[in-house]
Amino acid sequence: MEAFKTVKGVVLPIDRSNIDTDAIIPKQYLKSVARSGFGANLFDEWRYLDHGEPGQEHSNRPINPNFVLNEKRYTGAEVLLARSNFGCGSSREHAVWALRDYGVKVIIASSFADIFFNNCFKNGLLPLVLPEDVIDVLFDSIKDEPGYMLEVDLESQNIITPDGTQHSFDIERFRKYCLVNGFDDIDLTLQHKKDISEFEASHKQRMPWLFEDIS
């Protein structure tokens, strides 16, 4: 995984709560066995006026002019701003892949659904929780300022607005450590093989039936 340091990018404001993973990437695209190529279908049902299917050419599909993502001023956005309970619903990591593929590197919301939140870190996407009043201010500022950008500094755990205001954010130490170093979880866990084997031995002694193979 790529190491995450700082991001300075255009902010795409989607002023909604409960943005679910079905909305982020509709089910028909989940049929793919690949990990990439989902960006063109991010928010597919909001973004296009027709019904999309995998394998379709997307460049000539009718665009929904009322969906904020399609507004010129937000082209190339790397930061997504939303409300509460972002990423609720299904566990599909495809939602995170679609956001990453589109170019989103940071999501700011007042809360996230747990599984989505977890999935973000596995893909170098930073989900940030900020208080609702700060989010209100950000939504307001973006409205009045085309090309509004935010700088997100993971090392110092700060978001810096164009006028220099800083908002600090929390992040779990282990998650930050993995992100800034671009570490792969599996490699890290495999360093503890001995602990795992020891655990297995005692676990098996206590509940041997858990080690009967499924066959």
Binding site: R16, S17, N18, D20, D22, A23, P26, K27, Q28, L30, K31, S32, V33, A34, R35, E45, P54, G55, R83, S84, N85, C88, G89, S90, S91, R92, E93, H94, V96, S111, F112, A113, D114, I115, N118, N119, K122, N123, E172, R173, F174, R175, D185, I186, T189, L190, H192, D195, I196, F199, H203, R206, P208, W209, L210, F211, E212, D213, I214, S215
Partner: protein, 471 residues
């Protein structure tokens, strides 16, 4: 020191090591796999030259993409077909047991786990699927994970995780006749909201929960994810043990006796302290129907569609306005007056034998209303289907004009050919009413199996108690 919650016990008995800062490596006993969230994980394993740590801890099944009509012709959608064969190939390559599309035991992953006894008390159970919460009904710690974590579990039999906070929802009293687990969980979500449980492990307790069958407990736990909680749990009791006896993968002989002793401890200590406690009176709960595009937008069957203008929270108000528009409903309309175009009975929430019995009891001797273009019953597994057929339920349904299908996820998420057309309205026993969930532009109302069957017969929402019961 206060006692331990059931969640504490499950968590503590699976910690392999603790890191600074609150994350832990926890051991996973059972890993369930389906075709949608696993291909990239298997690809990752292959790329890095890793092998599954414990092949025998895994059980795989194809459920999301499979057709519910005649399977002898295979899957007509080539993309779906590829995903299903990819699962077949991966399982074969790594030696993982899979119930393929034509296996009589095939079914929805959360139905077959318990059915086969692959879900046991005291286990940690994961699957690349948010409704893994279902298995918590057995006093197990079970939760959904993403594809990267699927790969992590395959490679290490562990997950990096962080202990959640604990919530107990106690439902005392008794349920009214005709009120079932689905109504209970919808009412709870209506009460605490779709993010009310975020960050929590929820234990369900109280006299109402103790009186629920295992299947009903599964329905309850299944939808805890819709309340934001990754896992719902119910303490082990006699019902749990009775259900599991003689299941294929349940312990046998001396181990069965030993296991029962150990399992009896999978309850919260009487002096355990929860981070949050919620109490409900079972008597106050009526059959529920969702009216909007989030499971928290729910009202009792005798209710009227609410008015967003009364809401003070602006973002919530806008959400309601948008939902009403999407659902093409007007505030003030009694939900009973809302007519449906399709009815779907099935899914990991309500695709088990008791669900089908409840629906059949309502449908028996009636006819599907003429404004309902399709009413379908999709059993949760091949074994459920066989059982239903041996009880003659299939005949009850088909005589009433319902379609009787092959098992799978079907119109719960419409990845196969079963879906709503734009604008169609559906009474559905599934778990999500998000925009487009059952087909782009489709409108979903979540209900119990009995309410779904009643809607099919009446053509609109109605309290099943009002329909004549025919024998």
């Amino acid at each position: 020191m206060s006692g331990k919650t059931l969640y504490d016990k499950l968590w503590d008995s699976h910690v392999v090591r603790e890191e600074d800062g609150g994350t832990s490596l926890i051991y996973i006993d059972r890993h369930l796999i389906h075709e949608v969230t696993s291909p990239q994980a298997f690809a990752g394993l292959k790329e890095s030259g890793r092998l599954p740590r414990r092949v025998g801890a895994n059980l795989a099944v194809a459920d999301h993409n499979v057709p519910t009509t005649d399977r002898s012709k295979g899957i007509s959608d080539a993309v779906s077909q590829l995903q299903v064969t990819t699962l077949d190939q991966n399982c074969k390559e790594f030696g993982i047991t899979e119930y393929d599309m034509n296996d009589p035991r095939q079914g929805i992953v959360h139905v077959i786990g318990p059915e086969q006894g692959a879900t046991l008390p005291g286990m940690t159970i994961v699957c690349g699927d948010s409704h893994t919460a279902t298995h918590g009904a057995f006093g197990a710690l079970s939760f959904g994970i993403g594809t990267s974590e699927v790969e992590h579990v395959l490679a290490t039999q562990c997950l990096v995780s962080r202990k959640m906070r604990s919530m107990r929802i106690t439902i005392d009293g008794e349920l009214r006749p005709g009120v079932v687990a689905k109504d209970l969980i919808l009412a709870i979500i209506g009460e605490i909201g779709t993010s009310g449980g975020t960050g929590y492990a929820i234990e369900f307790s109280g006299s109402v929960v103790r009186a629920l069958s295992m299947e009903a407990r599964m329905t309850l736990c299944n939808m805890t994810i819709e309340a934001g909680a990754r896992c719902g749990i119910v303490a082990v009791d006699e019902s749990t043990i009775d259900y599991l006896e003689n299941r294929t993968y349940a312990p046998k002989g001396d181990q069965w006796i030993e296991a029962q002793k150990l399992w009896s401890d999978y309850v919260s200590d009487t002096d355990a302290v929860f981070d949050q406690e919620i109490r409900l009176d079972g008597q106050t709960i009526l059959p529920q129907v969702t009216w909007g595009t989030s499971p928290e937008m729910v009202i009792p069957i005798d209710g009227i569609i609410p008015d967003p203008q009364g809401l003070s929270d602006e973002s919530r108000r806008e959400g309601w306005v948008r939902a009403l528009e999407y659902m093409d409903l007007e505030s003030g309309t009694p939900i009973r007056e809302v007519r449906v175009d399709k009815v779907f009975i099935g899914s990991c929430t309500n695709g088990r034998i008791e669900d089908l019995r409840a629906a059949a009891q309502v449908a028996r001797g009636h006819r599907v209303a003429s404004n309902v273009s399709l009413a379908m019953v999709v059993p949760g597994s091949g074994l459920v289907k066989r059982q239903a057929e041996s009880e003659g339920l299939d005949a009850v349904f088909t005589r009433a004009g319902f379609e009787w299908r092959e098992p799978g996820c079907s119109m719960c998420l419409a990845m196969n050919a079963d879906r709503l057309e734009p604008g169609e309205r559906c009474a559905s026993t599934s778990n999500r009413n998000f925009e487009g969930r059952q087909g782009q532009g489709g409108r979903t109302h979540l209900v119990s199996p009995a309410v779904a069957a009643a809607a099919a017969v009446a053509g609109h929402f109605v309290d099943p108690a009002e329909l004549e019961i025919k024998t």
